[in-house]
Each structure stands twice: as C-alpha cells, then as structure tokens.
C-alpha cells in the first residue's frame, strides 16, 4: 500500500464527496482523511488515501463518475507537493488540520511552493512541534523566514522541542539578540549543552555530535545505568557511555549487554573501547569515513585530554554523507558551493551569483587558448581545415583528464591509495602512463583514419594523430595528479580538478597541434 494524495476540483453540488469515496473504496483504497472547502462555486477536496491503485487510473475513474471535475492523484512525497500547495494556497488556515496528517517534510515541501506572503501567514499558525521540525532542517533561508514571521516566544517554545545539537545548528542562523532571548528561555541544562556544542564549527565532529546520551561513572552498576536510561528521553538510547572520575572516556556498554548482565555488576567490567575516538574539531567527512571503515555505530568524541564530549550516532552520519554527495555533484558541475536555498525559492540574483564567478574564471583562463591560437593565424589561414579538428581533440583530451581525475578521486576517497605515500604516487603515475598510452594509441589510429578521410591530407592526419596521443597521455597524468596535489594541499579534490584539467588540456592542444601542423603540413 502506498500513501497517495488526491486533489479534486468539481462543481459544488451535493454528493461530490460520496461519489469520490465510493470510487476509491470500490477500487480497494483506504481513505485516511479528507478535507475540503468551497471556492467560487466549486468544491475543492484533498484526500489522503492508502492504495495500490495506479495514479492515472484512479484519476480517470473519479473523473468518469464526476463530470466537469479536475482530478489529480500523486504518490505522497515530492510529487504530491504541488497538489497540496495548490490546495493550501486558497485557504492557508487549513494547514492547522493538515499538519496532523502529513509528515513534516511533505507539508514543508508544499508550503515552500507557496508565495512568500502566504508562507509568512502560515508559520505562526503551526504547532510548536511542526515548527520545530521545520527549523530542524536548518536551511538558512527557511529559518530566516520563520524568524521574521513568528514571535520570539513562540519560536523559543518550538526550539525547546528539539535536541541540543539541533538547536546549536539553528542558533547561529538567527540574529544575535534572538539568540540571547532563546538561550535564556531554555531550561538551564539544555542551555549549557547548547553552549557546549556552539563552541565547535557546524561541520566538525563537535558540531554534529549529540550530548543526549546516558553517561555514567565506571564504578556505577548495571542497575543504576538502566535506571538512568529509562528515566529520561535520550537521543541515543541503545548504549550507555562510561567515564572515569576525571570525566575521561572509558568505554561503551550496549543496552542488550546491560540487560543480560547481573544488576550489581560494575560498568567498568562491561565497558568496551571502540577502536577510535575522534577530536571535536575533526571534519565531518573524515568522521563519516572512519565510521564506515571500522563499522562504528556510535563514535565517541573526546578532547585532547580524553574528556568525553559526546557521541556521533551513525544515523546522523547519513545526513553528512548525503550533504557531501550533493556538494560533490555541485563541485563537479562547476558550482562554487552547495546552493543555500531551495531551487523554487532561490532568486535569479542568487543563482547568477553562485554560477558567474566560476564561469568568469574559466573564461579568463580559457582566453589564453584564444590568444595562443591567434598566434597561429597564418597557419590556420593556409590550412583552414586544420581548425575543424581543434574541438574534437580538445574534447577528447578533456574527457580523458576527467576520467583520470574521477578514478583517482575515488581511489583516494576509499583509501585504496594514499596521497602521502611516495610509492603510491609513483605507482599511480606509472599506471596512468600505461593506461593513457593504450587509450592514446587507439585514438591515434582512429584519428589518423578519420582525419585523412575528412581532410585528404596525410600530413594533417599525422599531426592530428600525434597530437591526440600526446594530449591524451598528458591530460591523463594532469587529471590523475591534480586530486593528489589538492589533497596534499588540504583542498577537496573534487573542487579543483574539472576546470583546471579542461584549461590545461586546451592550452596544450593549441600549442602542440599548431606547432605540429606548422611543421609537418606547412614545413614552417
């Protein structure tokens, strides 16, 4: 069974709703809820149902039973958001009903599709719980909107619903006076937890850890641990953390072991040390890598004196991974950074600002290629057909370079090779040399044939063939080296590689190809 959203607009007359529900029931669907209102002589209905019916079929069946009706059916999730948004738009107050039936992300996706003024009306109507879950997304633009429309008291009430680490992510997005108001309104224990977390950058281990986990002294007993675990609601509740008298991290006891142990047993005897702890300033991507490598579900964070600070649960790392993956896609696609706003909200100005600097940078570097080619104006004039092959050669070189980069980015990311091992670097360069030469030979042969057929000049064909070989080997080595160099300099290998490889390849093609054509074809 899938949750589906049915949106209906029909001429308002008695029996509309029952006609719809009959059709749905007849087709084997269960109705979870239905809401509706009247608009300019029309009835608008929104139904949430659980069914296995194909969306198009259901819409058709309802339309057949209800002349003049427009019916849209979508699976719950992003696809349903436009329908829900359309329904809310005309009666914003209806969110107070819908928030009980929709999961926060589904409601949020719909609200974010409404015009700004409608959204601002809606936020103050939401329950603190829903508002809290919206805030927990910690998207900068969304937080700003909510802050601008909800009064500080309501906002504080909403934030109280969240865990300390979530509050710590949101607070820095608020204006300073709001931060103070909200911190003061928090219960004192939560306030000090939040203050602790605010010390670390949001993308560090300290920024993503949670302090909501039971912590006990190593002399405590199993019974005391269980009592503590059950008395409060913790975010991480399948382990207890054991510390020594100086609050230094000592070990972890999983809940099932607590349950199996004698109630009077000391925790000291049960505690297991995970293979690593991390420093609070460690980068979140590094944290994710360690947890995946060693299959650690709960990673303790401790400072340089060993003092226990918090736990990073693996479920939170999924968000880190999703974030980093989105960042890689953005970087490989030539965006300076991950967009801060949702696509539907992003202003044209923001989109241009995100894209223009990088485009300009590449344009400026690429203009070197144009200047070099300009030097060979005479050569091109005398053998114009040579120019026709330039894009083909540059493109092939660029593709080889980007393949080499992504092969090496991947090998570095998985720890298959290390950017700090001289042996690995030598090995990589040699391996790429052989791989690229093989690819280069294939293209040199194909290039020779194709160029000869098109140009009818053996000398030109040989120039193209030679250029292809040299450029393929060269781009491969450049493409493979850049991620290694980037890592050694402490950059993300995904950022630099693509644009640099393209540019280096283009310049080298211009020089090598034009020199060869001048020498071999024109005998200059």
């Amino acid at each position: 069974m899938t949750r589906q959203v049915v949106f209906i607009e029909a001429l308002d007359r008695p029996g509309v709703l029952s006609a719809v529900t009959n059709t749905i029931h007849r087709m084997g669907g269960n109705i979870v809820t239905s809401v509706g209102y009247r608009l300019n002589g029309h009835a608008r209905l929104l139904l949430l149902i659980d069914s296995n019916i194909e969306e198009a079929k259901l819409a058709e069946a309802i339309e057949e039973n209800l002349e003049d009706a427009d019916v849209y059916v979508a699976e719950m999730g992003p696809t349903a958001a436009p329908l829900i948004a359309e329904f809310i738009k005309e009666r914003p107050g209806i969110v107070t009903v819908l928030e009980h039936y929709l999961d926060p992300p589904d409601l949020l996706d719909a609200i974010m599709r409404l015009p700004n003024d409608v959204r601002m009306k809606i936020y103050p109507m939401l329950s603190p719980r829903t508002l809290a879950l919206f805030l927990a997304e910690a998207e900068e633009d969304l937080v700003k909107e909510i802050v601008a429309s909800v009064n500080p008291k309501e906002l504080a009430k909403a934030l109280e619903e969240l865990d300390a680490d979530e509050i710590a992510d949101i607070l820095p997005l608020l204006p300073e006076h709001m931060q103070r108001i909200i911190l003061q309104s928090l219960p004192s224990e939560k306030r000090s937890e939040v203050a602790k977390l605010l010390k670390y950058p949001p993308e560090s281990a300290g920024g993503i850890m949670t302090t909501s986990v039971p912590v006990l002294q190593k002399e405590s007993t199993v019974q005391e641990a269980l009592q503590k675990l059950l008395k409060e609601e913790y975010y991480v509740k399948d382990i207890v953390v054991v510390v020594d008298n100086s609050k230094r991290f000592y070990g972890i006891v999983p809940i099932d072991e607590l349950l199996r142990a004698k109630p009077t047993e000391k925790l000291e005897r049960l505690a297991r040390k995970p293979p690593v702890t991390v420093d609070p300033y460690e980068d979140q991507e590094e944290v994710a890598k360690i947890m995946l490598r060693y299959e650690i579900r709960r990673l303790p964070v401790a400072d340089d004196k060993g003092i226990f600070l918090g736990i990073i649960p693996i479920e939170d790392v999924t968000y880190v991974l999703a974030e980093e993956a989105a960042e890689d896609v953005a970087k490989l696609g030539g965006l300076a950074e991950r967009p801060k706003e949702r696509y539907l909200q992003a202003s044209i100005r923001e989109l241009v600002k995100l894209r223009l600097p990088w485009l300009l940078l590449i344009y400026i570097i690429e203009s070197v290629t144009a200047s070099i080619l300009k030097q060979y104006e005479e050569t091109i004039e005398r053998i114009a057909v040579a120019a026709a092959f330039i894009p083909l050669i540059m493109d092939t070189g660029g593709n080889v370079g980007s393949q080499a980069s992504s092969t090496i980015i991947r090998a570095l990311a998985l720890g298959e090779i290390s950017e700090r091992s001289k042996g690995d670097i030598v090995y990589t360069v040699l391996k790429e040399l052989v791989t690229a030469s093989t690819i280069g030979v294939v293209f040199a042969l194909i290039g020779l044939g194709f160029a000869y057929v098109v140009s009818n000049s053996l000398e030109l064909a040989i120039s193209i063939s030679l250029t292809l070989f040299i450029v393929i080997v060269f781009s491969d080595i450049v493409g493979a080296s850049l991620p290694i160099i980037a890592r050694r300099l402490g950059f993300d290998p995904a950022t630099l590689s693509a644009p640099f490889v393209t540019t280096v390849v283009d310049v080298s093609v211009a020089v090598i190809y034009m020199t060869l054509v001048s020498k071999l074809v024109l005998g200059l």
Copy 2:
C-alpha cells in the same frame, strides 16, 4: 591519542628494540604491540603505538637514536597500509600475529598491496573471523581470490560467522558448485534466511534488508518480547517487530519502551506504525531517500500482501549512500560504471575497458562538430582569427550547461522539484531562461570587448558576442532539461547529462558561430 604505525629497518644488533621503545616512551607514546624479524643482517620492527606525537618528529627522534636506521611513521588507516604491506611481504606468516592487533580494514588494505602470489598464501592462514570480515566487503575480485586460495570447508566456516544478508551478498559472486556446498553447510535456519534474501536483487530493499531482528505476534507480551530479544544475538536489537496472525507487518516497539512498559502488556497496544513500509523490489537509492526524508531509523520491508520480510537499519543505508555517491562521481567523470576492482589491483586492461567505450562514443559524436566546421573551410580561410575563439565559446557553453545540469540534478534529488509535475517543468525552464539570459548578457559584453581587442574586427566581435549569448541560453536549457528527461525515462540523471550537453553545445556553436561569421564578417 591516535593509533600510529612505526616501521623500522636497522642494522641488527642488541638493543635496537629498547632504543626504540625508550624514545617512544620518552615522547609520551604508549606501545600497543611490537613485532619483528631479521632480514639479511637487518632487524625489521613494526610497532603499533598510541600517541599525540607528530609523525615526522617521531621518525626523526628514533633515527637520531639509531644510526643507519630507516624509520617511517604513519597514522593508522590508509596511509599506514604501505608500511604494513612492506613488513608483511617478507614474512607472510606474521599476519597470524597482526590480525589480532589490526582492524580488518587496516589489515585488508595492507594485504591488497602485496603481490598476487603472496596474497594467495596469506588467505588460508587467516582466522575464520578475519576471513569473514574480508568477505563481508563483498568486492568481487577479493572474493574470487579468497575462493581460489581457501578450501571450501574453511570458506564455509568463515561465512558462518556472517549475518544472513552478508552471506546473500557474497554467494552470487561464487561459482555455482561452491554456492551449493556452502548453503548445505550452513545451519538450517540461516540457510532458509539466506535463500529468502537471494530472491531479491542486491541493490533492492530486499537485498539490503536484514532478517536478523526479533519478530513477535501482536498477542505476545512485553516479557516474551524481552526474553526473545535477550536469548539470541540479533543484528537489529533496539526494536522488536510485531506481526499479526498472517505474518503481516503490524508495527514496531522500541526497546526502551519495552523496558518502561508493564511486563504483561500486549505488544499490540505498544506497537507503532512507521509512516511507510517498502516493497522488497524498491531500489536502494529510493530507500535511502525515504529514510532520510522521514528520519526513519528502522524501515520495515513488506510484500504486496503486507507480509513482513525484514528491516532496513539506517546504519546499512550509510553504505548505500557512500556507494551511490561514488557512482555519481564516476558517472559525472565519464566512467561507464563504478570500477569493480581496487585501483591497485585493477589491470590496465580493466581500466581501459572501463574508459574506452565512453571516450569513443563521445569522439564519434564530436566528429560531427569537425564535419560541420569542415563545411566552413572557406570562411575560416578568409578570416582565420575567427577559429581562435571556437574553443573559448564552446567551453563557456559547456560549463553553463553542466552548471544547469547539476543544479537540476540536485533539486530533483532533494525533491525540491518533481520531474512529473508540469508546473515544475514550466517553472524550471522559465527560471533557467532568465538566469541564463542574465549570464549571457554578461558574457556577451565581455566577449565583445575581448574579441575586439584581440581581432580588431567589430563584425567578428559582434558575431562572437551574439554566439555567446545564444549558446549560453541554449546550453542552459539543454543542461537543465536533460536530467528531467532522464528521470522521466527512468535513467539516472547523472549518467547522461555531461557528455550530451558538451556535444550538443559544440555542434550548436559550430553552426551558429560559423553562420554568423559568414554573414556578418564576410557578408556571404
């Protein structure tokens, strides 16, 4: 404290080890273990230590105390692998000691750096537990090597150490007769679990779910649930799954609620229904998306009749996300698929096979550009400087297109827009039209100035400026549309976009630019 590896090769004489340990202790390091052997009159030592000492400093200090010694220090992890490998290479038997001190991934990384014949000698020496953890990586080439060197009985013993879902991932990689032998040697309960999992593709919900979770009838009591939970080792042990009399999924009870509830309470009353269940054939990427969206830690898998099949725990989804991220990087970089072997093991033949087809495809499509430019041979001959700008224009267009693609890939992935909503598609096209026009105007102006300075021809400068504007708008729309079209056709949007955008842009630049130059500059 960080775990570090110290590798020392020194002239063999009494006191070598104590000189080393003294230095380490003096600098505040703790020695976890040390192993060593003699080789051609030299002593070779490998120490595992916990310290905060900088690697280079420690190596220097030891070298100072020990003339003629080569000392290498590395942080435990991928960087240490070359050192450990070098140490093992000369005495493979030493792995039987090291496997007790190294985490399996650290040992594996080292072993994978050894020559094939040494590796084949090592696998049979490893304990079933270590072998099992190696197999659990489920890398095809590694599994094949292990199968070729370890006898089936030992292999079966190793596999028994693993959970049913891990075994189900490995079995399909084995030759068929081995699969039968191993299935028969498994305890009957595990065998039937494995058989259940083998029904689903490895990248589906059914392929990644685990069946190792306590399942109880809804009439069972809290006490019965706790007893079941504690009697066996389950993979997922922080919940119990509740089913009805027909084995249909009914709900989930978290362990802390079980502990708080009355022992005689019926599970029926405590069970909570998560917002969704998934079908066993659902794609793993879709599963990850749902679990992230709705913050689900344990997602139940049920068939179309509602029969409970298994649980997908969020910690396993981290591997899915890491896998999918690696695939995206590979695809955006122009690799047909994720490499199947580690970089160090991959043969040149494999690397070329992975890269060549895509390069050839793009080469063939790109040769259209060459053919088009060839048609304008006369134009280029008469105004050769025009050719100098071709790469610059094509590159800019390609960059704009790939930015647009990655913006839309991201928006689709996060569900910010839906490829199935007509309104979203219209909105996206319009928004990209405005964004691209803005960017286009900037480049048209810059292009005009730059081209005029380089070429001294206003007509050429205007042609370039116009081409830039048209191509930027066109590539942006193509780049933005392709991911939407790919999704609607059921492809991964990351696969198609990059190469197609480049090619479409190049062809369109060739046509538009050459036409404009012919008309405006030459007046043809």
